[in-house]
Amino acid sequence: MRIGIPRALFYYLYYPFWKTFFEALGHQVILSNPTNKKILKDGLELAVDDACLPVKVFHGHVVDLKDKVDALYIPRIISIEPKEFICPKFLGLPDMIKSSIPDLPPIIDSDLSIYKNKRGFYEHAKSIGTKLGHTEKLTARAFRTALKKLNSYKKSQIIEERLPLDSGQKSFFEDYQSKNQNYGESALKVLLLGHPYNIYDNYISMNIIGKLQRYGVKVITPEIIPTQNLSAGSRYLNKKLFWTLGKNLIGSAYYYMDGGQPIDGIIHLASFGCGPDSIVGELLERKIARSRPVPFIRINIDEHSGEEGFNTRLEAFLDLIEGGSRR
């Protein structure tokens, strides 16, 4: 069976697992095209107005895929860390898609929640296996293979500091070439905070990573920071942040600021209409404004963003941090 995976949202975190898992079950995985103008336009037209930009983009990817596949994989993701949640829009995603987009192939919308315990991940896989008519034995084997692959991928991502960036049609997972060039000791280091589906989608992020790298800046994102450092960083908060992605952002910032790690600047790329980001952004701003040890900028992206204004801010910010290092 051809199973379609939209190149959006949690694709940037779980694609290594999904691809391996479906292939181990004997299916073919088909990805949507990298985000482009048409995908964005379709998403904007079809999604409900209240949705945030990345969710709208997801709609566009579904449109791009739906006629090329036998089934679409749109999991109902509730929680990806024990005792934590992700944004409720993910919970309603399969329903939003079903109600907004006509003529869809069957949708595999199994729940994924590991709020109570890590077994939830296996339960998720089992439910997919059952839906596709596989034996539990085969599903379990595919699950173990895929989990191993995901874990080894994540490990190498951190060790090699490899950002999950697609190059053209090729997925970040297939493209094994290390994209992190050799940065000298003197290279500026910038911590780029943002949800994976915003910062790694070259179209949506207006290629912020590529632009920074072209200036010779070493880009650090939460995905290449060791997990224990993220949780160490997020412990500085008075109250636990129960959104996993938000926690990762705050954890990264605190780890670099309080942990004495050298960093030249922090960029928070937030998307318009993101509820959790509005709070995370405020927390970051307060934390940084209090002592201002590190230059900080928040850039909001939305479907109307002009690239010119975006570049101006980015260039000015780099001028700012360069000026700071000369002092």
């Binding site: 048409k38 179209y203 230059p295 010119e308 204004g309 101006t312 001028d319």
Partner: protein, 322 residues
């Protein structure tokens, strides 16, 4: 005499600043862009040439503003810099102790925070242009007041009325309503100044620590009513530098001077004032290479392709070395 030229190609105005080797402003020009950026640059070049002594030698050129790339293609620039850095550099050259820069231009407004002569933070207005120069222009026009007199009239007000300044559209309808109720023009204008300042401080300057000396620059700094409203709201003196209207251009000129002086061997890229008499035209086409359908802009000088931009992937812009 050795000189450096700065050009700030903005949405509403295009400014030129010519400085000597000591950074002193010799000549400045403030022109309305009037939707024709290429023409305006050429007009500015012509005006410069007519006014200048023949012994002037342009050693370096810097461009800034939202049209900095276009300006660079037409005149041949040594430095192409974003307007935030340019404004900060210019301000520091005039008032070295500056800690806060309020800049309100034709369509954007910025705040730049400096400490010890270094930019530490900045912000720009995002999607909303309420309270920038073009809005003030339009309101002055609607009330039949020359924009130059706006501030002066506002300062006469004794009982400013409260205008809703959140949004330019609502501000306008609120002003019309206040007129219909019989408020005096000066009270409405003063109220508008206060509303714009409130809006600026609540949006652009949100969360920023404003410390003196505060410098107010950009075209809107000509408006004494807005300056006064800033002073009242902030409770501190607001300085308007002598060359407030061409600060971006001044900054670009200073940056060009710096770039050239760092490398004495380097010759300027400046095409000379003759650039003003060459024919330039811009053409656009839609690239069908992928579903992005980028609009690619091509700038020609005569038949020679000078620059291309607008493509996301670099397929077109890579072929042309600017």
């Amino acid at each position: 005499m050795e000189c450096y030229l700065g050009i700030d190609l903005g949405s509403v105005s295009t400014n030129f600043a010519l400085i000597d080797r000591y950074g002193k402003v010799i000549k400045k020009i403030y022109l309305r862009t009037a939707g024709r950026p290429i023409e305006t640059i050429k007009n500015g070049l012509k005006m410069l040439r007519e006014d200048l002594d023949s012994d002037i030698e342009i050693k370096g050129v810097g461009t800034t503003g939202s049209g900095r790339k276009l300006a660079s293609v037409i005149v041949g620039a040594d430095v192409v810099k974003n307007e935030i850095t340019a404004h900060a550099v210019a301000s520091l050259s005039q008032i070295p102790e500056v800690q806060t820069i309020l800049e309100i231009g034709g369509q954007d407004s910025k705040i730049i925070i400096l400490r010890d002569g270094v930019v530490v933070d900045f912000a720009m207005n995002t999607v909303c242009a309420a309270g920038t120069g073009s809005f003030l222009d339009r309101q002055a026009q609607r009330l039949g007041i020359p924009i130059e007199l706006f501030g002066e009239i506002a300062l006469k007000s004794k009982n400013p009325t409260r205008i809703a300044g959140r949004c330019a559209v609502f501000a306008e309808s609120d002003m019309i309503h206040k007129q219909q109720l019989g408020y005096k023009v000066e009270d409405i204008l003063k109220g508008l100044c206060q509303a714009l300042v409130r809006n600026y401080l609540a949006n652009v300057a949100k969360g920023k620590e404003i410390k003196p000396p505060v410098v107010f620059q950009g075209g809107v700094a000509a408006n004494s009513g807005i300056k006064k409203a800033f002073e009242e709201e902030l409770g501190m003196e607001v300085l308007v530098p002598e060359h407030y209207d061409v600060m971006g251009a001044l900054g670009a000129a200073i940056l060009a001077k710096k770039a050239i002086s760092q490398n004495r061997q380097k010759k300027t890229n400046f095409y000379g004032f003759e650039a003003a008499f060459k024919e330039h035209r811009a053409e656009t086409f839609e690239c069908g290479g992928c579903p992005n359908l980028c609009e690619v802009v091509q700038i020609y000088q005569g038949d020679k392709l000078m620059a291309r931009w607008g493509d996301r992937c670099g397929r077109w812009s890579q072929d042309v070395a600017v």
